[in-house]
């Protein structure tokens, strides 16, 4: 009843009822701003790499000297197939980012659905789904990925069908990342669902006769969406890293080099030993920057979603 007047800024997170305001809130924090700038930069590169550096160079179309350090006309040097490093790195952005995006979509979709249904339904369904979730959670991501990828690639074959401009071999990686990452999302969303389920507005929905589906869609989902977005940001970063790892151990596709693939090629020709730093530094730097950017955005988002953390007004 009449308790202490906390006199906090009213409304808080509830004011942000749309994606637009969430974005604006993130931009208000310095780390959010930096993160978004970096990500926008890479997103632009990923959407239309040809605009910036022309089509992907191949061994046939390459014109530069072989494995040259940065010189006139090739600011980041060339690789062992005489391709311009800038060209490769920018195209690599598209592969890495698109794979990351698709994998995140799968992960978050599956994770959220399982989390919400499991948390809301409770009982035996919850128990059953959680045992499956735990199974996937416990197996080390990279090990599972290593095992699954060759199996799926055999299933899919190595034809040249493309999905979203990505060859099937890489789609396999997308699926594998999805399979290995959904479980932690599911756990997080389920947790939030469990506490939402007890709130009075869910009771009210029941009293007026709403069924489970309606409640999950109209009451649970809108209140976990912010958490899903925050989680998606982290998942995206993880997806980029997982893809890098898989490509680095040779499960990528040399015809559509991602940053990880470039690192694999660099390793394969012994670039570190040769001192050809321009081969592996650019892709590495990009990976670090992108993951860092996601972390910064994630941190800014976390501040928005957690009103107690907000100190500055």
């Amino acid at each position: 009843m009449a308790g202490q007047v906390a006199l906090a800024r009213p409304g808080g997170a509830r004011r942000f009822v749309g994606a637009g305001s969430l974005l604006r809130a993130v931009l208000r924090r310095p780390e959010g701003l930096i993160g978004v700038i970096i990500l926008t930069f890479f997103a632009l590169l990923a959407i239309a790499p040809e605009l910036f550096v022309g089509p992907l160079q191949t061994a046939v179309t390459a014109k530069g000297p072989r494995l040259s350090p940065p010189i006139e006309g090739f600011p980041l040097g060339t690789d062992h197939l005489r391709r311009d490093m800038i060209n490769l790195t920018v195209h690599g952005a598209r592969v890495s980012m698109v794979i990351g995006l698709l994998a995140t979509v799968i992960t978050v979709l599956v994770g959220a659905v399982v989390g919400i249904v499991s948390g809301f339904a409770g009982g035996r369904l919850d128990g059953f789904l959680m045992r499956i979730t735990d199974f996937f959670l416990v197996i080390p991501t990279f090990v599972l990925a290593l095992i699954l990828t060759p199996i799926l690639r055999d299933l899919v074959g190595s034809g040249s069908r493309e999905v979203f401009g990505i060859r099937m071999t890489l789609v396999v990686i997308v699926v594998v990342i999805g399979i290995t990452s959904w479980s932690s999302t599911a756990r997080i969303i389920r947790s939030q669902t469990l506490s939402l389920k007890e709130r009075a507005f869910v009771d009210r929905a029941r009293v007026i006769g709403a069924g489970g589906g309606h409640i999950m869609r109209r009451h649970i989902l809108p209140n976990v969406i912010n958490l899903i977005v925050a989680n998606a940001v982290i998942v995206f970063a993880g997806a980029v890293l997982t893809e890098t790892f898989l490509s680095f151990v040779g499960l990528g596709d040399p015809l559509q080099p991602s940053w990880g693939q470039l690192l694999e090629s660099a390793r394969a020709i012994g670039a570190p030993g040769l001192g050809a730093w321009w081969y592996f530094v650019p892709p590495s730097a990009c990976i670090v920057l992108v993951v860092l950017a996601f972390t910064l955005v994630g941190s800014a988002l976390d501040d928005q979603l957690n009103p107690k953390r907000r100190e500055r007004r």
């Binding site: 009843m1 009449a2 308790g3 202490q4 007047v5 906390a6 006199l7 906090a8 800024r9 007004r313």
Partner: protein, 370 residues
């Protein structure tokens, strides 16, 4: 310890002839970004030895902020901007945070609403009472445990339950434990901030009877903060009615409750159901308390006051004392006889707010705790 022996442990600077607590023109403001909330805007009152003073008002009136200002347990965006709080004549407002520690808990302690928030869930009851004894009074562990046992018995908790954790106790027991903790250093004043609001009426009766009993046994002085006028009527000697950060009326419980002068007091009293009254009626006060970021000029209650006059919307009413009662209302100007007014004066313009206000332009300030 009796009142007499407490006098031996008065703080060094204490003036034994001064009243126990004198608050003069206290002003506490909160800063919310660019705006300032005038939560407490000029409160004065006196608390005498052995007295129980009730501070009443609805949510947002500033009563809790007043209590927290006395021992400076304010959040970081709040500060006391004016006024004095004199304990035994010593002004606590001028003391540094460090110096204030001497007084907090040893002279003035506080019992909050909802003991679960104040009790540490991972420590046993007994240990939580021992803590202030060893920290503040420098007692040995053995002495402190003995005293903790005594305190528990004093508040009606069997000594052997001292080993329990807070979640193992019922609401009433936890509140008793809070009282035991508050009494640990034998303070002169205990502030109760809605101490019984969340409790069942029977438990409430037990706790209030306990506080009354302790008051007489230990010579304790009590400041009871609550929105529930009925509780104040039952337990307090004097009452201070607050509205929107200011004093509306103050005096002995007998006088204020039987002959309320301020229109807010009259309406508030009439808004409480009375199980012993014949007529089953309840009064309505239209509108809601003002936004303390932009308080209205003049009397802050004027927009909702059925007896409001033109002057009320322009001039802040002065506080005038008539015998046992102090009122801040233009119906009782200085020099008038102070007789209770219960009908609208001929030049009244009445309340100007509608019964259901349109949705506000700015969101209302949120009150934590419901």
């Amino acid at each position: 310890m009796t009142v007499a022996s407490r006098r031996q442990s008065l703080p060094k600077l204490a003036d034994p002839s001064a009243p126990l607590l004198v608050v003069e023109d206290l002003k506490t403001h909160f800063s919310l970004g660019a705006e300032t909330v005038h939560a407490v805007d000029g409160i004065s009152f006196t608390l005498n030895h052995g007295e129980a003073l009730g501070i009443a008002g609805e949510s947002g009136c500033g009563k809790t902020t007043t209590a927290l200002s006395l021992i400076r347990l304010l959040p970081s965006n709040a500060s006391i901007v004016d006024g004095s709080v004199r304990l035994y004549g010593i002004d606590l407002v001028t003391k540094s945070a460090n110096a204030l520690r001497r007084y907090r808990w040893r002279e003035v302690s506080i019992v909050f609403q909802g003991a679960m928030n104040a009790l540490n869930p991972v420590h046993r009851l007994r240990d939580q009472i021992v803590e202030p004894l060893t920290e503040r009074l420098g007692m040995s562990e053995k002495e402190a445990r003995k005293r903790a046992g005594e305190l528990l018995e004093l508040v009606g908790i069997p000594k052997k339950r001292g080993g329990a954790y807070p979640h193992e106790l019922s609401g009433g027991m936890r509140q008793r434990a809070m009282i035991a903790m508050a009494l640990a250093c034998d303070p002169a004043i205990v502030i109760g901030d809605e101490p019984t609001t969340a409790l069942d009426v029977m438990i409430q009766a037990q706790i209030l009877a306990l506080l009354e009993d302790l008051r007489h046994k230990l010579g304790l002085s009590l400041i009871l903060i609550t929105h529930d006028l009925s509780v104040i009527a039952e337990t307090c000697d004097r009452v201070l009615i607050m509205y929107a950060g200011r004093v509306a009326e103050e005096g002995t419980v007998d006088e204020v409750f039987r002959r309320p002068r301020h229109p807010y007091t009259q309406k508030l009293l009439a808004a409480f159901p009375n199980i012993r009254a014949d007529r089953r009626t309840l009064d309505v006060i239209p509108g809601s308390p003002p936004d303390l970021r932009h308080p209205p000029p003049g009397c802050r209650f004027a927009p909702r006051c059925p007896f409001a006059m033109e002057v009320c919307t322009e001039v802040v009413p002065p506080e005038v004392t008539f015998g046992q009662v102090r009122v801040a209302c233009h119906l009782y100007p200085p020099g008038s006889d102070g007789v209770q007014v219960t009908t609208a004066p001929p030049n009244a313009i009445g309340a100007t707010v509608p019964l259901v206000e349109p949705p506000p332009a700015e969101p209302p300030l949120e009150v934590a705790g419901g």
